[in-house]
Symmetry: C2
Subunit: 208 residues, 2 copies
């Protein structure tokens, strides 16, 4: 038996899971990956629902068996006290502001468009084809909110790359797969390059 | 001119705004309320978009002009170091887990069903009538996740009522207005009564 290690229950293509891998890599926190299938129902089995009644990944399993779902909560907890969080309360409040923005106003359009347009079966996409214009309109609105912030700031909270940047990077950097044109958002594009240039960066396609 | 005071830009019927009023009342933090209309576009005017480019309330304006949107970030910031947050990192991680759960898996169905079924114009509801079954199915799934947690715990994080409970209370206590039957969730119903019995409770309909 090897040394005890955190286990990330995940799907490799999921931007929410990628955020956790990226924070782990940046902070040098070793973890094992347990992979689930994209549309095979494997996060809705009775065994998985015992681990997370909400039936979703990412789910972080600690060495002692404690379990934590929700990418935002996971990356907040992993990075408490580290250089990936600002050290004053006001900047931390803004960090959380952008993390909640991402989950409510960005992910449901940008990640969802990417999923159905790029990863789902064609017949499943056809059932949702009428939703594509709304995904694109609301996703572009979210990118515009980011653009207006980045016209005046290098990072989303405080003076360095924080978990707010990582949370937004997760699905923004691959938004092209959902039919978004990132070149229309030059400040966002420049910020994506800044995030990817940080030491310890990990591309989405790579394991931990 | 009166003493400087925080201003909450809000809509009285919004559960997201109610969370902020409730935390302020519990902690004895005075604030003025600035009311916006429900469907009159008043949070999408150029003047408001300068305050919050995402065009949403709640938005908290501090005495010195600093601005913070996103209910989750606002109530986290207002309650840092108070009895409304657990004092250890693991319980705080679980607090955030439930706050992200609420914004991603609960509010988009339970709050949205309540809004369109109860507050919107009938002709606007009719355009969305085909979405009601999905709102109800996913909203009930969220209530079931809460029920399973509350079958084993009094509160969502740590050993006392925290901002995770307040975040979930906001739209759960009025879910009946969206066509949800709370009596089907006895542990949720008992928890709602526990939250409402806390000192300094404030009903949704009351101003600060």
């Amino acid at each position: 038996m090897g040394a005890a290690m955190m286990i990330l229950h995940q799907m490799q293509m999921s931007g929410n899971c990628y955020k956790v891998r990226l924070v782990a890599r940046r902070l040098g926190l070793p973890m094992r990956l347990k992979e689930y299938g994209l549309m095979d129902g494997s996060t809705r089995t009775p065994a998985f629902l015992k681990l997370n009644p909400n039936g979703r990944v990412p789910l972080l399993e600690f060495e002692d068996g404690r379990l934590l779902p929700e990418s935002g909560a996971i990356i907040f907890h992993m990075s408490e006290g580290s250089r990936l969080q600002p050290d004053n309360a006001w900047d931390r409040a803004q960090m959380l502001q952008w993390m909640f923005f991402e989950q409510y106003s960005h992910e449901p359009y940008i990640a969802v468009a990417r999923f159905w347009l790029r990863y789902a079966k064609p017949q499943e996409l056809e059932k949702r084809r009428h939703l594509v214009p709304e995904w694109h309109a609301k996703g572009k609105a979210a990118l515009s909110v980011m653009e207006s912030h980045l016209n005046a700031h290098d990072w989303f909270a405080g003076r360095a790359c924080s978990i707010a940047d990582i949370a937004l990077y997760g699905y923004t950097h691959c938004a092209g797969e959902g039919g978004f044109e990132l070149l229309d958002f030059p400040a966002v594009s420049a910020w994506l390059a800044r995030v990817a240039a940080q030491p310890g960066h990990l591309p989405l396609g790579e394991g931990w």
